[in-house]
């Protein structure tokens, strides 16, 4: 298409007002301009804190992963439910997400940047006023929130946006609604598999049905804990993950052989905090999830007998294994175990037991099929078949190999009558950033611009307006 021609308004309905879409998640925070197809700025929500020269310093973004500073500890401003706990830090992390890539830091005083020669008497006084400028003063801001966000947190969010960032217009949308918009549906049952949570959100006409919103903590972090449990109980020898920063060199070894690597050691006073190591271990685990872990495709559970009498587990054993090499050079081929670590998302009894895990063993009510059932029980009967025909899968952890297939089988078994149709974006980034993309679509629509909460309205009604407007 010729870039000099504008798209036809009738077919697209867009009207971009250079709005910024901010989608804060537990693991990553996504920010970008509305109307684009992917967030420009993607940073971890984790931030690092350390002391240097007696001052507390904070590291944001990808810098967290890079340097093992002495005493560096890693924190997350959100709690396990995806609700903000530490508002100061959440504000700073979010600010970093759009300041670093989108709005940029404001130009300093041109008289002080050393590029201009000024006579001393010309130093103007109004420069002081300009330094007070706030980061978002000319971009409307669309933020997302989980469906179970309490009213207090919503009010706090608009307060930050309006008062700290000075945005001219603000809107708070549910991630579920946006994910369904991203797949082009106004009514859908959104299954969002995130890092800390899995959530089921029924949506009707672009509004969530609060009584049907369900969530449970069996997200990506839970899967990581299951993988760790698996590594502890590994058969030739338990596997410990040594992150890259602790390894200075390694040599290749045969599969299953003990690693031969030279490790780095940090003296106690120079070593980073344990939370730093956990964060970096999590990166290896994420890689493991991407390369090895597979969801048993179904139609029956992994523990059940298969269609031709052979137990599914024996069937899974016949599949070729997948090799994985750890940072220290240890490598192994993973067979049926790679199915086991995610089976508990569908079958609570199949969880790999680990008494040391931070996650309690899952209850049957926390598994995805049960959540969907509970969610549908909370909405009107007439709506259920329509929702089942529009199941939208989103979230980074839903990219597990074979996940949608299994989900489809589980839903079809649970609801044999109505037509079940699972929609999942094939594109990795569309799946990971589903809710951001929906926000990008929404905030660039011409019809949406009447929905913004303007600064004037905020000043008139106070933060409570978010409850009235962002329904």
């Amino acid at each position: 298409m010729n870039p000099s021609n504008p798209p036809q308004a009738a077919e697209y309905g867009g009207d971009e007002v250079s709005a910024i879409v901010l989608d804060p998640g537990y693991s990553t925070t996504r920010a970008g301009f509305a109307g684009e197809d992917a967030p420009k700025s993607l940073i971890p929500t984790y931030y690092g804190k350390y002391n240097a020269d007696g001052q507390e310093k904070i590291v944001y973004g990808d810098d967290v992963f890079v340097t093992p500073r002495p005493g560096l500890s890693v924190h997350n401003p959100l709690n396990k439910d995806g609700i903000v706990e530490d508002w100061d830090m959440a504000e700073r992390v979010w600010e970093h997400s759009f300041m670093s890539r989108l709005t940029g830091t404001k130009a300093g005083n041109p008289f002080q940047n050393g590029l201009n020669d000024i006579a001393n008497d010309e130093l103007p006084a109004e420069m002081e006023v300009e330094s007070d400028e706030k980061p978002l003063s000319d971009s409307p801001l669309l933020m997302t929130e989980p469906g179970w966000n309490p009213a207090k947190a919503r009010e706090k969010t608009i307060e930050i946006a309006m008062e700290k960032w000075d945005t001219p217009a603000f809107y708070l949308a549910r991630t579920g609604v946006l994910a369904s918009f991203a797949s082009g549906k106004a009514s859908a049952l959104v299954i969002d598999i995130g890092a800390s949570n899995i959530s089921i959100t029924p949506i009707h006409d672009g509004m969530i049905l609060k009584r049907g919103v369900q969530h449970s903590p069996l997200g990506g972090d839970y899967i990581s804990s299951q993988i760790s449990a698996l590594f502890k109980a590994n058969s030739p020898q338990p596997i410990t993950i040594t992150p890259h920063y602790l390894i200075s060199s390694k040599t290749a070894v045969e599969a299953g052989q003990a690693p031969q690597a030279k490790y780095k050691t940090f003296p106690a006073d120079k070593a980073p905090d344990a939370s730093y190591r956990a964060l970096l271990e999590e990166r290896t685990l994420a890689e493991f999830k991407e390369c090895v872990v597979q969801v048993w495709p179904g139609p029956t559970r992994l523990s059940a007998p298969g269609p031709n009498g052979i137990p599914n587990e024996d069937m899974a054993r016949t599949y070729p294994g997948r090799p994985f090499e750890f940072p220290d050079g240890y490598n192994q081929v993973f067979g049926v175990d790679r199915f086991r670590v995610v089976e508990s998302l569908f079958d609570a009894k199949a969880a790999v037991p680990d008494p040391e895990s931070p996650f309690p063993p899952p209850t049957p009510a926390q598994t995805i099929p049960e959540l969907v059932k509970a969610s549908l029980a909370g909405v009107d009967v007439d709506l259920r078949p329509h929702l089942l025909a529009n199941v939208v899968v989103t979230g980074g952890s839903s990219l597990l190999y074979g996940f949608t297939e299994r989900l489809n089988h589980e839903l079809m078994q649970m609801f044999p009558g109505p037509r079940v149709r699972v929609t999942a974006a094939g594109n990795t980034s569309e799946r990971r950033f589903g809710s951001w993309i929906g926000g990008s679509i929404l905030a660039s629509l011409g019809t949406f611009h009447q929905m913004w909460i303007s600064k004037k309205e905020y000043e008139e009604h106070g933060p409570n307006i978010v409850e009235k407007r962002c329904k």
């Binding site: 009967v381 044999p416 913004w452």
Partner: protein
């Protein structure tokens, strides 16, 4: 020398159907730049498969340079759908009219525009404010009835179940969510105002969970009442009246029952779903076959209504005869281009499918017959065959089960057998039988050839045959009597002649005595006075003779005999 056109003519090809294939032209590749002519010549005809010329940035075509750049600008706008006058900025193409008059068209004029957007924006701003924001027109609200006043509520809308506050809350919610009932029901969270009860001890009314049906019923009642207050039903427009009626007729209980059913429907088990799918499939099959059935049945009936040949069917009893029949029928079908008889025979007849069909073919009866044989055989085998249900005589009659002593091979129609009975050895006899049946108003081909009907028919034919035999005998006897009387008369005449008395007139019975055994129909046609006479005689003489031959046969025989005689008389008349 023949041209291409001549060849086409000879081969009957269209004159200029396809253009002649072009002669292969030598593709002279252009010499790329940067290669000398001599070097290029050395490469020969086929250039090496290496791209020698590098890709250059083409840029925009030249003609585009002549176009004027149409500038865009970041322009503020307001949205009339908003009440707060929020000003947002978007990129907008500048209006040509808003452009300042160009004094001198300079080549870099477009450049200038881009460089000086600020000045033009000032011209732009009032312009955009004038016409409405393009998307404001999508801001629509459903039309809701007017809100009630206090007085109206007191007079018309009071309800024990719904307090004024809750009604207000409901109406607010409905208008807030634009009558999206699903969402209204989802967000409905009415907190009864507890401050109205100063008494701390008073029971706090349990917060009741309103169902969507309750809300709908209440809201529709309120809306319908308000509608009728605004316009009395007599003055309503048709659409309004319809809406009013529909809202008044809303039945929450029925709606609730419907939803219960819907819930049952959605919570079916896999087996139920499978069964339903199977039944649906079956239904589809049946409905699709129904049409076939109807056409086939019609065809069968039309075939049955073909006039029956009274000819003898014995020739078709042997297998050779049957195959010959088949051949001729096939031949006939081929010429008629109709469906073959085989095809019809292969499709089960509708009567054959019903379980209690009496006219089941011999093959269908075989298992029952076998069971019956076993029953006769031994008690041991009876025990082993306990699974086979034995039927009482009443049941046998009900289900039309019959036991045959001897089952002939192949399929045969019961009606055929009945038909055969009407065929006598001689045509005359057959004709007589047919006449008798016609007299009794029994069709030659039975309408309903059930077992019992066939049996009775058989009996009837037997008695008719017997009757005919009896009559034959009686006529014989009569004619003998007549001959003898004539002889006697002759003798008396001779005796009188001998005694000298005048001769008596001679009766006309002499010839009858010759062909008397052929029966009534053979009685002298050319003699009008004699015929009624003889028939009258027959009528008089018949009862006695019948009594003689059939050993005192009952009254029906007598009656039918008289009937038969009448028939024969009419028959005679027809012949004449």
């Amino acid at each position: 020398m023949a041209s291409a056109g001549d060849v086409r003519d000879m081969l009957d090809l269209p004159a200029e159907g396809q253009p002649r294939p072009h002669k292969k032209q030598k593709v002279v590749e252009k010499r790329p730049e940067g290669i000398t002519r001599e070097l290029y010549a050395l490469l020969g005809e086929r250039a090496p498969p290496i791209a020698i010329n590098e890709n250059k940035y083409k840029g925009r075509p030249k003609w585009m340079n002549k176009l004027r750049v149409r500038p865009w600008s970041m322009a503020p706008f307001t949205n009339s759908a908003r009440s707060d006058g929020l000003v947002l900025n978007h990129w907008q193409r500048k209006h040509e009219s808003a452009r300042p008059p160009v004094t001198a068209p300079a080549p870099d004029e477009s450049q200038m525009d881009v460089d000086q957007p600020k000045e033009e924006e000032k011209d732009e701003t009032p312009k955009t404010a004038e016409h409405d924001y393009a998307f404001a027109k999508y801001n629509i609200k459903p039309r809701l009835p007017r809100r009630y006043t206090d007085e109206e509520y007191e007079r018309n809308l009071k309800n024990d179940d719904w307090s004024r506050e809750e009604t207000d809350y409901l109406v607010d919610l409905v208008s807030e969510y634009d009558i999206r009932w699903v969402i209204v029901a989802d967000r409905y969270d009415f907190q009864p105002n507890l401050e109205t009860e100063p008494d701390g001890n008073a029971l706090v009314p349990a917060k009741q969970n309103r169902t969507m049906e309750q809300m709908k019923a209440r809201y529709y009642y309120v809306a319908a009442t308000m509608l009728s207050i605004e316009h009395p039903p007599s003055e309503m427009s048709e659409a309004e009246f319809e809406l009013h009626e529909r809202m008044l007729k809303f039945d929450p209980n029925r709606e609730r029952d419907r939803k219960d059913l819907a819930a049952l429907q959605i919570n079916r088990t896999a087996d139920e779903v499978r069964e339903e799918a199977m039944l649906l499939e079956e239904l589809k099959r049946i409905t699709s076959n129904e049409q076939n059935f109807i056409t086939e049945r019609r065809e069968l009936y039309s075939r049955l209504e073909v006039p029956i040949s009274v000819g003898n069917t014995t020739m078709y009893q042997s297998s050779a005869g049957l195959s010959q029949l088949l051949q001729t029928l096939l031949q006939a079908d081929k010429s008629k281009k109709r469906r073959s008889i085989l095809g019809d025979g292969a499709v089960p007849s509708p009567a054959g499918q019903t379980p209690n069909a009496t006219g089941s073919a011999g093959r269908a009866e075989t298992p029952v017959t076998q069971a019956a044989n076993h029953k006769k055989g031994s008690t041991a085998s009876k025990e082993t065959h306990q699974a086979v249900r034995t039927l009482t005589p009443a049941e046998e009659a009900k289900f039309g089960v019959t036991h045959h002593e001897r089952v002939s091979a192949g399929v045969q129609f019961r009606s055929d057998r009945a038909q055969r009975l009407t065929q006598a050895k001689s045509n005359v006899q057959t004709q007589k039988l047919a006449n008798a049946l016609a007299e009794l108003e029994i069709p030659v081909r039975l309408f309903m050839p059930t077992e019992r009907v066939c049996k009775d028919f058989e009996k009837l034919i037997q008695s008719v045959n017997m009757l005919l035999d009896a009559r034959k005998v009686s006529e014989k006897v009569e004619s003998e009597i007549r001959v003898l009387e004539a002889a006697k008369f002759e003798r008396e005449r001779k005796a009188r002649e001998a005694a000298g008395l005048p001769a008596l007139p001679r009766p006309e019975v002499k010839t009858e005595a010759d062909d008397g055994d052929t029966g009534i129909s053979a009685s002298h046609p050319g003699d009008p006075p004699a015929a009624p006479d003889s028939s009258a005689q027959a009528g008089h003489g018949q009862p006695d003779v019948a009594q003689e031959t059939s050993n005192g046969g009952d009254g029906t025989h007598k009656r039918s005999a008289s009937v038969l005689s009448a028939t024969s008389e009419s028959n005679k008349r027809q012949r004449r």
